[in-house]
């Protein structure tokens, strides 16, 4: 057992960097964004606090620097309170996406105010222009930071585990055939085996779109570990690892999975981020629950409420569905999906 774990850890660190899968998983658990976006956010937070305090305590000086009339000190104090609040909000959150977007909104308000101030007869136009340029520069930084925080550009990391009442060899064999993965992984449309450890992955995107890539097996130790990663020139930089450990007392197999989707820009990045939503670990947990069902029961178990998915917003009432309701169903049990559904009424058999 210790030897297997060491081997697996070595494979993990190949894929996920120093510390291996646990490192990736830990960061994911805490919902950490990429360090550069986070550092920028902290910088903007300090800027907010500094400017906010200045506006609150020395509104006249601020008015003077910006070339705005001294009669607006009340408004400047109010803006100072706003700056201070958004600064504090940035420091209060581990991933301050909303707080940084709030800064962007505040910037817009500042720009409008400066525009209005510029039309006043008391304004010193040169200083107003200087102030406006400064706010524009900060606005650009705010927008970049907010987009990095919210656009899925920090990548997706998820780690989950389950215990399956089957021997490690059986569980390994099922997983080793990647074409089985879409049976329990909700976001996968298909995985096609291309031979030589290579596979073609297709992921369902919104509105019928798909994202596709090719992956290759990195490590494959029967009954112990499988790791894979997308080919270098793929649209998506994806790596995955699954470990199989014999549970104590011969009580089946402990399965540990790590998934990693590296940051991607643009439409594909947005698609990947959207697929996993706010809680990638919850999704992987649910995938593994279905994996366990397939291994132990033979198919994915559904209730009437979960015909359209198990998420909070996917729940429908616990009552039979009419066929028309099930057109959006993502994962009906394979064999029954085609002949399911009657349009209500009475049953006469």
């Amino acid at each position: 057992m210790p030897i297997n774990q060491q081997t697996a850890a070595a494979y993990d660190s190949d894929l996920f960097g120093p510390g291996g899968a646990n490192y990736a998983g830990e960061r994911a658990k805490q919902g950490l964004p990429s360090t550069s976006a986070k550092r920028l956010a902290k910088g903007l937070g300090w800027f907010s606090v500094g400017l906010g305090l200045a506006e609150l305590l020395a509104p006249r000086a601020i008015a003077n620097i910006s070339g705005v009339s001294n009669t607006h000190t009340g408004l400047i104090r109010l803006y100072g309170a706003r700056e201070l609040a958004s600064g504090i909000a940035i420091f209060a959150q581990e991933k301050p996406t909303e707080a940084v977007w709030a800064r962007v909104a505040g910037d817009a308000l500042d720009l409008v105010s400066l525009g209005v101030a510029g039309t006043s007869s008391n304004a010193k136009l040169g200083r107003v222009a200087f102030a406006t340029a400064n706010v524009l520069a900060v606005t650009a930084l705010d927008v970049i930071c907010a987009m990095q925080l919210s656009n899925g550009s920090q990548g997706i990391h998820a780690r989950a585990t389950c215990i399956v009442n089957r021997a490690p060899e059986e569980v390994y064999n099922f997983w080793r055939d990647f074409q089985n993965l879409p049976r329990f992984m909700r976001h996968l449309e298909s995985v096609e085996d291309l031979g030589d450890g290579r596979s073609h992955w297709t992921v369902k995107g919104p509105a019928g779109t798909t994202v596709e890539w090719e992956a290759t097996m990195i490590a494959d130790v029967p009954g112990e570990v499988i790791t894979w990663r997308s080919l270098e020139n793929s649209d998506v930089d994806h790596a995955g690892a699954v470990r199989f450990e014999r549970a104590a007392g011969g009580r089946g197999t402990i399965v540990k999975v790590n998934l990693n989707y590296a940051p991607v820009a643009g439409v594909i990045g947005a698609t990947i981020a959207k697929l996993f939503g706010e809680e990638p670990e919850q999704q992987l947990d649910d995938d593994l629950r279905r994996f366990k069902q397939v291994m132990e029961v033979g198919e994915v178990v559904v209730s009437e409420a979960t015909l359209l998915g198990t998420g909070y917003f996917a729940q429908r009432p616990g009552r039979p569905a009419a066929a028309s309701e099930l057109e959006d169903a993502e994962m009906l049990p394979s064999q029954t999906a085609t002949n399911y559904g009657s349009e209500g009424g009475t049953m006469r058999r």
């Binding site: 629950r289 616990g318 009419a322 049953m347 058999r349």
Partner: protein, 401 residues
């Protein structure tokens, strides 16, 4: 088909819904002949269980005739008369193999909800909120029964519905409540709550060898039924329960105590007001008066058996009493599948006839009224059986159509 649906606190509607279909290959479709309202349905009716959705079909005590089976069901066929256990269990996982069916790891597709609330998820249940799976319940003309190769048992034709229906829940539940007391000959067992489950705990305690059973409630008819089952009784509105039990046991206390009440306990005086206020303010989700009292009354080294349903969090739990007096607490939703066959045997050989508990039989269409009657204990109502093809006067009398 017609089905009894939940539409919010104390609001039930019988309406037309689509017929159930086979969804998983180990499903069966049952045409329901009899279905009952359980005391635990009242927790849903009264709005104490979270994750309900408007339109949910309630009901987890039902039986009927198999009309269709999935490809992987080989032990049942159309025409078989079966009783369905309320926990849904796969038969393959660690807990099913250990006979702990109400803890099945595969039958709750909404396990994530239960994990957030309880840490781990129990099994899926019929018609009992989305937290336990969001399965359509059995207060309907038809029901889809998952894992039909594990749960339902065939029952012989010479027994009536009323004799076997309660194998679905309240007989095994009451029995497990008594079994968890680890009864030895000569034991005295005190039972809080003389609703239908309490009635079965009383009779089961005697079947398991108890010498004395002391039953506690406030409802005259229920206490009368308890006495018919051989119990001595305490009406908590008339007597102080602790003092009465100590007097009856020479100050030592009963050997084991069963909480057949659960989260909506009533109590005399200020204690109930205290718990009601805390419950209304969401400072505790459950009112644990019966459980507190059972702990304080139990003899040193005795057993507390909690079979009444709790949903969340309780307050003022006397842990010092439990620890310092070496009490054992045993709990659980009944592992019904474990008990159905042996208890059916007891019914067949005449050791018990569960039909004694039925006070009202009504049409499925009268379900909303039946809930109200059962909740308010109107017309001495103790247990209601609903039948989809019942022609009656809506007051509990009538005939099968």
């Amino acid at each position: 088909m017609r089905a009894n649906c939940w539409y919010g606190k104390t609001t039930m509607r019988v309406e037309d819904v689509p017929d159930p279909q086979i969804l998983n290959q180990r499903d069966a479709i049952i045409k329901i002949s009899s279905t009952a309202i359980c005391g635990s349905d009242l927790h849903l009716y009264n709005g104490f269980i979270p994750t309900m959705q408007k339109g949910d079909i309630l009901g987890h005590e039902f039986m009927g005739e198999v009309v269709e089976v999935g490809r992987e069901v080989h032990n049942l066929k159309a025409g078989d008369r079966v009783v369905v256990p309320f926990p849904i269990a796969c038969g393959n996982c660690f807990f099913c193999k250990e006979q702990m069916f109400s803890l099945c790891e595969n039958s709750n597709p909404n396990a994530w909800m239960a994990e957030k609330m309880f840490g781990h998820s129990p099994a899926g249940l019929f018609g009992y909120s989305h937290l336990t799976g969001g399965y359509a319940g059995g207060q309907a003309e038809y029901a889809r029964v998952p894992f039909a190769d594990v749960g339902p048992i065939k029952v012989p034709d010479h027994l009536t519905d009323e004799q076997v229906l309660f194998l679905s829940d309240i007989f095994p539940t009451g029995y497990m409540g008594a079994e968890m007391c680890n009864i030895k000959p000569g034991d005295t067992i005190a039972i809080w709550g003389c609703g239908p489950v309490g009635q079965f705990s009383i009779r089961s305690a005697f079947l398991l060898g108890a010498e004395r059973v002391i039953a506690i409630d406030e409802v005259h008819e229920r206490l009368q039924m308890a006495e018919q089952g051989g119990a001595e009784t305490i009406n908590y509105r008339e007597q102080n329960v602790y003092e009465a039990l100590m007097e009856m046991t020479g100050g030592r206390g009963p050997d084991a105590c069963i909480d057949d009440v659960g989260l909506e306990a009533h109590a005399p005086g200020i204690i109930e007001a205290y718990d009601r206020v805390k419950q209304a303010m969401m400072l505790e989700s459950d009112r644990p008066h019966a459980l507190r009292e059972a702990i304080m009354c139990c003899r040193n080294g005795g057993t507390i058996s909690v079979i009444g349903v709790y949903g969340g969090f309780i307050d003022k739990f006397p842990m010092g009493s439990v620890m310092n007096r070496s009490l054992t607490i045993k709990t659980g939703q009944a592992h019904v599948q474990r008990y159905m066959r042996p208890l059916l045997q007891m019914i067949e050989n005449g050791a018990i006839d569960p039909s004694f508990v039925v006070t009202h039989t009504m049409s499925l269409d009268d379900a909303p009224r039946a809930y109200e009657m059962f909740k308010n204990k109107d017309d001495n109502c103790i247990k209601v059986v609903l039948k989809p093809d019942w022609i009656g006067n809506g007051n509990g009398n009538g005939t099968i159509h």
